[in-house]
């Protein structure tokens, strides 16, 4: 028991120290470009948390991440770049964006979840293609192939994020908030309902869970998180174009979540950072990148289906068992000595 509790505490402390030192050290040792890549990792993590809610907690595979990212990004782009004749502040525009996304995602969810399991997933692939076509071609709202530029950077109470280092701290705060919200979902009725749908739909029904509505709510939450990430992306890059919202991109978020451990927010954060940073570190092997990527995804699914977080817990459990056995041996031999 006591060893048990101690172990959990130790692992939490290790994570805390790693996180704090990352936040303190990363901006100091990184130059502008690399800082930007780190920031991207944090932004993508927010979208990947949406996958975490849908796939990790609820067991529903949706490819719609980029559709909603695009929605959030273009929403902010239109209202802060002046191309619609207005330039709004960041906070009001983000609030408006969240309300709009909630309505849109909820309505789309109502329609798409008339379909079950794989059919739902296929429908989301369709959604990605449709939204991408619009983002690429419809000039009045999305600027066409040129995208939208001159988007205002993030500002709050008169403070404006001018460089990537300032952005880094802002993003860390946002990521922490989202991690907290997602972690909280897990220990609520919604989280348990989703877990019940994931593991056993029949049991869920007989426990009074409205499967359809619960899935729609999860889809809405994932949509809002993706749109929030999209909005931050637009403000951070001050430019959006449709090539951020292709089908290929959407698979990346699922890989980020799967790599880290789809049900584990810390894991998803690590997964997002890895998937974003690795291509930079492996720049020398550019032409093999896709190959390495593909092979690692297959190996990942074979050897650690629950991702890095799953690996950590299973290793932890094994260690714990060893400790326990050793202790038992020690006590039993002690008993014998007494005799």
């Amino acid at each position: 028991m006591r060893i048990n509790k101690l172990n959990i505490k130790i692992s939490n402390i290790v994570i805390l120290i790693a996180a704090v030192s990352f936040v303190l050290v990363a901006p100091r040792i990184t130059a502008g470009y690399f800082m930007m890549v780190v920031n991207m990792g944090l932004i993508f993590a927010i979208a990947a948390f949406g996958v975490c809610v849908m796939l990790g907690i609820g067991g529903q595979l949706s490819f719609a991440t980029v559709s909603f990212m695009g929605f959030g990004a273009y929403f902010v782009a239109n209202l802060t770049s002046g191309r619609m004749g207005i330039i709004m502040g960041s906070i009001p525009v983000i609030i408006l964006m969240i309300i709009a996304t909630t309505v849109v995602a909820f309505s789309i969810g109502l329609v798409l979840f008339k379909l079950k399991s794989a059919y739902f997933t296929f429908a989301t692939i369709g959604l990605v293609q449709v939204s991408w076509s619009f983002y690429l071609s419809y000039v009045p709202l999305f600027g066409g192939p040129d995208g939208i530029s001159r988007i205002a950077t993030f500002d709050i109470f008169g403070f404006r994020a001018e460089d990537f280092h300032q952005w880094f701290y802002i993003l860390v705060v946002f990521v922490l908030i989202v991690v907290f919200l997602v972690e909280r979902i897990k220990c609520t009725q919604l989280g348990r309902s989703l877990a019940a749908i994931r593991d056993n739909e029949i049991a869920a029904q007989t426990l009074g869970i409205n499967i359809y509505m619960t899935k729609v709510i999860a889809f809405t939450i994932a949509g809002v998180l993706a749109a929030f990430a999209g909005a931050l992306y637009a403000m951070h890059s001050q430019f959006v174009s449709a090539d951020m919202f292709t089908f290929e991109r959407t698979t990346t978020y699922i890989i980020m979540a799967m790599l880290g451990g789809v049900n584990n927010t810390k894991g998803v954060l690590v997964g997002s950072m890895l998937v974003t940073l690795l291509p930079e570190w492996l720049r020398g092997m550019q032409q093999y990148l896709q190959l390495i990527f593909g092979v690692s995804v297959i190996l990942l699914m074979v050897f650690m289906p629950m991702g890095l977080a799953g690996l950590v817990t299973s290793v932890g459990k094994r260690l714990k068992r060893k400790l326990h056995v050793n202790k038992k041996l020690a006590t039993s031999t002690g008993m014998e000595a007494k005799r």
Binding site: R184, I185, C187, T188, Q189, L190, R192, S193, A195, A196, R198, D199, N200, I202, A203, A204, Q205, T206, L207, G208, I209, N210, I211, I217, N263
Partner: protein, 252 residues
């Protein structure tokens, strides 16, 4: 006393196979009502029709004299139909606490938003402890559900259902795969459920010991048809029942 659960001419067919043929019976509050029959007689189908996993082809189901024939299963559960399964259905990736909380969630039903900001479910652990007193094992709240044995899971599933404060509980073969001690405990638990909490119990079981011991009323099903109903004594001397279980003697 008014019945809490009433089936009226309930029918269901899968293709050409009739699994429920105009089945009518009722369960009173606090009554332990047995549902027996040979394998494939349609017992579990009846439970699935009551809890709404299958839709009826004909007839009606009433809960507390309210017609629930056409409402979805999750609403039936919220109205007070609890159930357990032949093989326990738990969330394999969650711990014991979350698994049991699912039952308490159904009793509380305060919606997602309130549960997001609200406090923990009160009395939950005490309630569980009260039921666990009747049983012969203990568990750690934060242990994985996979740490429990099959028999323990079957017992815990009944408790999960009880936490939702059902008006009637459908228990599907609680004794299968359990040892004698566990069967005794489950019988005591079912007795407390019915007599102390006044919950109507519909019980499917193959162990005749258990059925004859605790049921006040028994329905016998064969090929989807009710072939007999009555007290344990009446049923066990019924010719049609003996025939269904043992087969017809050719010389007779």
């Amino acid at each position: 006393m008014k019945p809490i659960l009433r089936l009226d001419m309930v029918s269901k067919r899968f293709g050409g196979v009739i699994t429920a043929d105009k089945v009518s019976f009722s369960v009173k509050p606090g009554e332990i009502h047995g549902l027996i029959g040979p394998n494939g007689a349609g017992k579990s189908t009846i439970m699935n029709l009551i809890s709404g996993i299958y839709l009826l082809d004909g007839g009606n189901v009433y809960l507390n004299e309210e017609d629930i024939t056409n409402i979805p299963s999750y609403l039936r559960a919220r109205k007070g139909i609890g159930r357990t399964f032949q093989t326990p259905r738990f969330l394999q990736r969650s711990n014991i606490r979350d698994n049991l909380l699912l039952g308490a969630d159904l009793a509380n039903q305060f919606g997602f938003l309130k549960s997001y900001f609200g406090k923990k479910v009160s009395n939950f652990e005490n309630e569980v402890a009260g039921f666990m007193n009747l049983l012969d094992f203990t568990f750690e709240w934060d242990a994985d559900i996979t740490a429990l044995t099959y028999g323990q899971l079957k017992q815990l599933e009944i408790i999960r259902s009880l936490l939702s404060h059902p008006k009637v509980i459908l228990i599907d073969e609680p004794a299968a795969g359990l040892n004698n001690k566990e069967i005794d405990n489950i019988m005591e638990l079912i007795n407390v459920v019915a007599k102390k909490h006044g919950i109507g119990v519909l019980l499917i079981e193959h162990s005749m010991d258990m059925i004859m011991n605790i049921c006040e009323q028994i329905e016998v099903l064969n090929f989807g048809k009710l072939i007999a109903s009555g007290t344990p004594v009446e049923v066990s001397s019924n010719e049609a029942v003996i025939e269904a279980y043992l087969g017809r003697d050719l010389d007779a």
